[in-house]
C-alpha cells in the first residue's frame, strides 16, 4: 500500500511531540498536523512548562514515573546542547514549600529531578509561613519557543501543518488512514468524552528578570516560575470552569499571593494575564479505538487528558501513542511488514 497517512489532531505540546515520535518510529508514514490553534494560542502556551509531575489517580505510579523519566532525559539532553536556547529548554532550581508537612515527603519523581533534598533551616527562614520544603533542580520548556521549535523540526522531516477545525473525526476518514487525537480540552466536544473536564488556570506573565529561582507552594495554587523572558505567576485550579476570560480579582489575588512568597515581585513590570483550561482526567486517555460506520473501520489513537502534567510526561505518552499508531498501521488492510515499529 502507499505510505500510511497519519493525521494528528492538536498542536499543543502533546500533538507536536506525538507527531515527532510518529515520524521517528514510523519513517514511512506521512504525518500531518491539523489544529484549530497553533502556538502562541494553544493551552500549552499559557502553561509555564515546568517539569514537575502531576499525579493521575487512575494511572499506576510506576507508569507515570517511566513517562516522566523518559521526558526528563529527552529534554535534559537538549538543554545541554547548542539548540537549548532556540528550543526554549533550560534548567531552573528552586523550592517547593509547605505550610504543613506533607504526608508524602518523597514524591515519586524525587530521584528523576536533580539534587532533590529537604530544605535547610536557613533556607526555610525565607518563607516564614512555611514549615517544610524541598529543594531541587528541574527543567522548563518555555512556550512559544518550545512549540515553535517542535514545529520547525516537524517541518524539516516533511510534516505538513494546517489550521483546521475538526468537528468530527469521521471528517478525516477519506483523507487519512489513522487519526491521533491530541485535542486536549477539545476532546470534550470532539469525541464527547464526559470524563474530561477543564481545570481553569489563570496566570500572570511578568517582567522580573532578577528572579532566578522557582518557588512553588506545595498546595499547587501559588507558584513563581522564571522563564527565559518572563516569570509565570500562578495560579488557580477551578474545576469545571470553561471561562477563558481573565478575571481582575483573580489577577490581584495571584499577584498578592506570589508577592508574599517573593516580595521583590512588587517591582515586576508589564503584567500580562493569560487563561488556560487544563484538559483534566483521572488518567490520560492513551488507547486505540476503532471507529466503525457502515462497514468502514477507522483506527484512532487517543492521547489526551494530561491535565496539569502535559509537559512532564509528553515524551512518555507520545512514544506510547506512536507505538499504538504502529499497531494500527500493521492492522490496516493490505499493510505489510513495511510498517516498521
Amino acid at each position: 500500500m502507499a505510505a500510511p497517512k497519519v493525521a494528528v489532531v492538536g498542536a499543543g505540546v502533546i500533538g507536536l511531540s506525538t507527531a515527532l515520535c510518529i515520524t521517528e518510529m514510523c519513517p514511512s508514514c506521512s504525518v500531518t498536523v491539523l489544529s484549530d490553534q497553533f502556538s502562541p494560542n494553544t493551552t500549552s502556551d499559557v502553561a509555564a512548562g515546568m517539569l514537575i509531575p502531576h499525579t493521575y489517580p487512575g494511572t499506576p505510579i510506576h507508569v507515570q514515573k517511566q513517562w516522566f523519566k523518559e521526558t526528563f532525559a529527552y529534554l535534559f539532553a537538549i538543554s545541554n546542547s547548542p539548540e537549548a536556547s532556540e528550543a526554549g529548554i533550560h534548567l531552573v532550581s528552586g523550592w517547593q514549600v509547605f505550610k504543613n508537612t506533607p504526608e508524602e515527603e518523597l514524591p515519586f519523581w524525587s530521584d528523576v529531578v536533580l539534587g532533590f533534598r529537604p530544605m535547610s533551616e536557613a533556607e526555610l527562614q525565607k518563607f516564614p509561613q512555611h514549615r517544610f520544603g524541598q529543594a531541587f533542580t528541574t527543567l522548563k520548556c518555555d512556550c512559544p519557543p518550545y512549540l515553535l521549535w517542535l514545529e520547525k523540526r516537524l517541518k524539516a522531516t516533511g510534516v505538513q501543518m494546517y489550521t483546521r477545525k475538526v468537528a468530527d473525526l469521521w471528517e478525516l476518514h477519506s483523507e487519512y488512514n489513522v487519526i491521533v487525537n491530541c485535542a486536549g480540552i477539545g476532546a470534550h466536544q470532539l469525541v464527547g468524552d464526559e470524563k474530561l473536564f477543564p481545570v481553569r488556570g489563570q496566570v500572570l506573565k511578568v517582567h522580573a528578570p532578577w528572579v532566578k529561582n522557582f518557588i512553588r507552594d506545595g498546595d499547587g495554587l501559588t507558584y513563581i516560575y522564571p522563564g527565559i523572558h518572563r516569570v509565570t505567576l500562578g495560579g488557580t485550579r477551578e474545576k469545571e470552569s470553561w471561562s477563558l476570560s481573565p478575571d481582575p480579582g483573580t489577577t490581584k489575588d495571584i499577584f498578592d499571593r506570589c508577592c508574599s512568597l517573593e516580595p521583590s515581585l512588587r517591582g515586576a513590570q508589564d503584567i500580562k494575564v493569560k487563561v488556560g483550561l487544563r484538559p483534566s482526567r483521572r488518567c490520560v486517555r492513551l488507547q486505540r479505538e476503532v471507529l466503525s460506520q457502515g462497514g468502514v473501520k477507522f483506527p484512532v489513537v487517543h492521547n489526551y487528558g494530561h491535565g496539569a502534567g502535559g509537559f512532564s510526561v509528553q515524551m512518555g505518552t507520545a512514544k506510547e501513542a506512536a507505538r499504538l499508531v504502529g499497531e494500527c498501521i500493521a492492522a490496516l488492510p493490505g499493510s505489510s511488514s513495511r510498517a516498521k515499529l
Binding site: 536556547s85 536533580l114 539534587g115 533556607e123
Partner: protein, 347 residues
C-alpha cells in the same frame, strides 16, 4: 568635623554610608565628602558580575571570613525589603566545578543549601568530576552604587569629581579623617608593593535562559583563570581571566578568544548568545585586605587615615564587613578626639 572618602567604588560608597549612618547623629558637626576620579558606571566595581562568593580558601584569614559572613547576612536581611530591586540584590543558585575532590570552603555554612553535586548533575559538565551547589546572592553594582549614592546624597554627603594626588591635598584643606578606598591605585597615594592589579576581562552576553552561575576551578591556573558564567538581571557575564601584575585596561583579543571558547565548551547553548559588551578591569589584589588606621603628618597638619583597600576579586563579597570595621576605627578616632562615645556594637 570633616570626613573625606577617597574612592567611589563599592568600598568607598558603602564605607561612607556605614559611617554616616552610625555617627551623624552623634556628631552634629559631621561633614562628609567623597572624592573620586571615577564614578559609577566607570568604577572597577561596575564591571564585576556581582556574585557573592569568596575565594576557595581563606588562607587562615579568619577576619576576612567573618567580614564575608557579615556582608552575606546583611544583604540577606535586605532581600525581602522593597529596596532589594533598586539595590540590584537577588538570590541566585549555581555550581562550582572541579576536576578533583576539594575540601569544603570556609563559606559553606554562610551560603544557603550548600551541598556536593550528584553524579547526574556532573553529567552536565564533562571534564569535571566534583562540585558544589549552593544558593548565594547577586549584588549588581550598576544598581547598588547608584542606590548608595542616592542614600548618601539624601544625607547631605557631597561628591567631587577629582583625582586626589596626595593625602596632604585633602588634609591640608581641613579634613580631619580621610578614608582611603582607592582600590587598585592606592599605591599612587602611598606606595604599597603588596598591592598588585589582578587583571580580568569579561564578555557580556544576552543569554536569559541561563539561570545558574557556573564557576569552574583549575587549581593549577589559580582563581578566576578558569571559565565562569554568571547570569545577571539583564546580561550574563562570561569570564575566566586573572593576570597578576598586568595594568592593561584594554580588551585583549586573545583573552576574548579564551573566554568565549572556554565558556561555550562549558555551556554549549551560549554559542547562540549575542555579545553585547566587553570589559577589562583591575582587581585590587593583595595578600590580605589593608584595613587599618594611620596618622599622616605634613608640617603643622595631621590627619587620621583609615585604609580600606586591597579586596581583590571579592570586594562585593566582603564590603559591608569591611565598612563596619572601618566604622569601628572611625569610632575610636572620635573617642580619642573626645567627640563622642561610640554607639553600642550592632549585629
Amino acid at each position: 568635623m570633616r570626613v573625606a572618602i577617597i574612592g567611589a567604588g563599592v568600598i568607598g560608597l558603602s564605607t561612607a554610608l556605614c559611617i554616616h549612618e552610625q555617627y551623624h547623629s552623634l556628631v552634629p558637626s559631621l561633614e562628609m565628602e567623597v572624592y573620586a576620579d571615577r564614578y559609577t558606571p566607570h568604577t572597577t566595581s561596575d564591571g564585576a558580575a556581582g556574585l557573592w562568593q569568596p575565594y576557595l580558601s581563606d588562607h587562615g584569614n579568619l577576619q576576612e571570613t567573618l567580614w564575608n559572613k557579615e556582608t552575606f547576612d546583611y544583604l540577606l536581611g535586605h532581600l525581602g525589603s522593597p529596596a532589594a530591586k533598586e539595590m540590584g540584590l537577588f538570590l541566585i543558585s549555581g555550581y562550582n566545578l572541579f576536576t578533583q575532590p576539594v575540601p569544603d570552603p570556609s563559606w559553606k555554612n554562610i551560603v544557603l543549601g550548600f551541598r556536593n553535586l550528584t553524579p547526574k548533575e556532573l553529567e552536565l559538565f564533562p571534564g569535571y568530576s566534583y562540585g558544589w551547589f549552593n544558593t548565594a546572592l547577586m549584588l549588581e553594582c550598576r544598581s547598588y552604587l547608584p542606590w548608595l549614592t542616592n542614600r548618601l546624597t539624601q544625607r547631605g554627603v557631597r561628591f567631587f569629581h577629582k583625582k586626589v594626588e596626595s593625602f596632604q591635598e585633602v588634609s591640608g584643606d581641613g579634613v580631619d579623617v580621610v578614608i582611603n578606598c582607592t582600590g587598585v591605585r592606592a599605591g599612587e597615594l602611598q606606595p604599597d608593593p603588596e598591592l598588585q592589579p589582578g587583571r580580568g576581562q569579561i564578555i557580556k552576553v544576552l543569554a536569559p535562559w541561563v539561570k545558574h552561575f557556573i564557576i569552574t576551578h583549575n587549581i593549577k591556573s589559580g582563581i578566576y583563570n578558569s571559565p565562569y558564567v554568571i547570569p545577571g538581571s539583564e546580561f550574563t557575564v562570561l569570564g575566566g581571566i586573572y593576570q597578576h601584575g598586568n595594568w592593561n585596561e584594554e580588551n585583549s583579543t586573545r583573552d576574548h578568544k579564551t573566554i568565549w571558547e572556554n565558556c561555550c565548551r562549558l555551556l554549549p547553548a551560549l554559542q547562540k548568545a549575542k555579545i553585547v559588551e566587553e570589559w577589562s578591569g583591575l582587581r585590587p589584589a593583595r595578600p590580605c585586605v589593608r584595613l587599618e588606621r594611620e596618622t599622616i603628618r605634613h608640617g603643622p597638619f595631621q590627619a587620621e587615615v583609615i585604609h580600606n583597600y586591597g579586596h581583590g576579586g571579592f570586594g562585593i563579597t566582603i564590603h559591608w564587613g569591611c565598612a563596619m570595621a572601618a566604622a569601628r576605627l572611625f569610632g575610636s578616632i572620635l573617642q580619642e578626639k573626645k567627640l563622642a562615645n561610640p554607639p553600642q556594637p550592632r549585629l
